[in-house]
Amino acid sequence: MEYIVKNGIVYDPINRINGEKKDIMFRDGKIVTDVSSDAKEIDVTDKVVMPAGVDPHAHIAGPKLCVGRMYRPEDERKGVVAKTNVTRAETGFSIPSCPATGYRYSRMGYGTVVEPAVPPLEAKHTHEEIISIPNIDVPTLPLFGNNWFVLEYAKQDNIEDLAAFISKWLKVTKGYGVKLVNPCGSEAWGWGMNVHGIDDPAPYFDVTAREVIRALAQANEMLGLPHSIHVHPNDLGHPGNYPTTINTLDCVKDIAKNSKVRDQTIHCTHMQYHSYDGTNWRDFHSAAEKIADFVNKNDYVTIDVGQVTLDETTTMTADGPMEYDLHTLNGLKWANKDIELETASGLVPFIYSRKNPVHSTQWAIGLELFLLIDDPWQVSLSTDNPNAGPFIRYPRIISWLMSNKKRMDMIENQYVHKAVEKKSSLATIDREFDLYDIAIVTRAGASKVYGFEDRGQLGVGANADIAVYDINPNVDDPSNNPDLVEKAFGNALYTIKDGEILVKDGEVVKVKPSHTLWTNVVGFEDKEQRVFEENIMPKFTQYYTVKFENYIVHDQYLPYPTEYKVYASK
């Protein structure tokens, strides 16, 4: 099938197209240079055309989501939408049902969403859940930062065996890259403890976060994975945690990049939660300037923001001790999950109130990070869904980024707490993102961070993943019309995925199965086999409660796989 998307105004940062009026053509799901006269025409005259969105970090599938849905029925009853001829019924606000997740991303013009925290033991379940999420492709990041095998290899500084383990475990879990969550801290939680800073060793293993981060970064580069290590640093959400964050970024400075498809060697996620100064919640204030300054001076770093949206939401993370701290802070119901040799997660509902000085300051810190980091390629838009807010708020965040007037309205009319002016510099920043910047932070940048070459862009040969929004850049002024921006980015005129029209005028008109993206490392098989037989299996048999045969993610869990082959050390 051939199509031509006619007369749109195209923003495609990877191909340096900034608001040019041009046609986009595709055939059989791929972008092409020309089509025959039989091509179907989609007239989008003077509307914004971008590659479909790429979300770098959103918890959308896996055991945490299931626990969240089970223990928050009061969230499930929000956002109920009846079934249509095309879609199934939707439920949920911060933890929507699986189909609703797919539809809602589709309506915003998104095509790819990374699930960034999969305990390998629960990878099977995560992939089962991805099967139930339509319309978006999902890569998953298995958790390695508190894995017993990793802690031991890091302690021994045995990078080659660690690389072999990762290579094997990406095959076992059908994962895409390497995720660390509070390295050593979630292991310490198994002992009722946490670690503070990156040089505080985990109990028993006697290894520090610094050693684990460095070891995983080196192994990641030895394999040349398409994504760098993806780090949720220690001390999340603690006042005065910014030195830990900077130490985390700084500790991998000397590690050379071994990949042509990305620019960074470390991606630090939900940076808003890691940019706090002060010593307690009373003198808590923003350290966004210090973090932004570090990012500006170091091009090996990329971040996503984790923007607070001031909603009632559900926090969920593989940072078990942090969730317990949060529960003692807000007193709301707490769920805890222990994943044997791998990690520990927790959940707590959270109400981010615009009248609360701390929550309002968190809102400001996120926006400061966007606006103070000079190069938009280093910063991606996320809410750490659902931790800082549900992903359906992305259009609202875009409107905040594009309109200084909107931000100042919120500050000056005290829609947010007046602490914002004292505890952050947001009110002094008048930078506004244009549509090109927005295209970078919502799709092109994240695509580059993950080393995707087939998406996040509209170049020839790329997937025909296209979003069209109802904004006319020649007439509409996003700076003075934030409501229009929010409405347009929330209700795509068209969302096209692999050449199929899934959304028209903000309504889902077609549902297609999701692809699961995973990385297959080739050329490490001998080392993998040796490490697996000599070291992994004896411990696996001794400590895990499941058999390895039941642990491995078999092919039937990925009915639509997209495999990225990586030739190790090349």
Partner: protein, 269 residues
């Protein structure tokens, strides 16, 4: 005043849902609008006229001028008066689940027994049940920690388990006996019980008052004896007689007050 009367003509084994048929929605509907309106029955919708003969007398400018009367057994009619903010509803028979849930105002009187979740998450108005009520009367939605925040619930029969769960305001008067865990997780508000209570009132309560005039079966360990008061004033109301006052639930550092009639509960002294 506009009086709308529903007389059953066909019994449905599958429950009908009436949350869209409340004074706020129907005050300006005529007889045929009401008869034509399709209510949820299981996973389908059918017109009200399949199940009821509808009589309409008088006219109304707003919901406060509406009086709805249900004649007969409404044991398979759910969500009666759910979300109403004004007007009157009277049911001369039993009702199914969720009667008066999320009420904001007006009055709902049930001259029969009510199923579970009556008066769930009420914000205002008056719910009167002249028979018995089952579990979770005046409770919150499952999973939520924010319960009834206003209004008055009066039960002239007995109440089931977890009466006033997560109560966050408002008043509940139970004139019969009450089953276990009334006022569990409550943070505010007032529960008065004339009859006996099986056991464990106020589990994990943070604040608010529970007053029991009858005999209590067993008290939770999280309540500490504070003293005996004669003719105490509780939640701004005066009571005659001697009452034992407990503070709890200390398991959650609660400051809730549990008042027990001293004569009926001598064994606790």
């Amino acid at each position: 005043l506009k009086e709308i009367t529903f007389v059953p003509k066909k019994f449905s084994k599958i429950a009908l849902e009436f949350d869209e048929v409340i004074p706020d929605e129907i005050f300006n509907w005529n007889k045929s609008d009401i008869e034509k309106f399709k209510v949820p029955v299981g996973n389908s919708r059918f017109p009200i006229s399949n199940y009821f003969d509808v009589k309409v007398e008088g006219a109304a400018e707003g919901p406060e001028e509406v009086k709805m009367v249900f004649e007969g057994d409404m044991g398979r009619l759910k969500y009666i008066g759910c979300g109403m903010s004004a007007g009157q509803i009277t049911v001369n028979g039993d009702v199914d689940l969720q009667a008066g849930a999320e009420m904001k105002g007006g009055s709902l009187t049930i001259n029969g027994n009510a199923e579970s979740y009556a008066g769930r998450e009420m914000k205002g108005g008056a719910l009167t049940i002249n028979g018995n009520v089952r579990e979770y009367c005046g409770a919150t939605y499952i999973g939520d920690w924010r319960g009834v925040s206003g209004g008055v619930i009066t039960i002239n029969g007995n109440a089931g388990k977890q009466l006033g769960e997560c109560l966050s305001g408002g008043e509940i008067y139970a004139n019969g006996n009450v089953d276990i865990l009334c006022g569990i997780h409550m943070t505010k508000g007032f529960i008065q019980i004339e009859g006996d209570v099986t056991q464990w009132p106020g589990g994990q309560m943070k604040n608010g008052d529970i007053l029991i005039k009858g005999k209590l079966g067993s008290l939770l360990e999280g309540f500490e004896f504070e003293g005996i008061y004669t003719d105490p004033e509780v939640d701004g109301k005066e009571f005659t007689g001697n009452y034992i006052k407990y503070i709890g639930d200390i398991g959650v550092d609660g400051k809730g007050r549990l008042w027990l009639n001293a004569e009926k509960n001598r064994d606790l002294l």
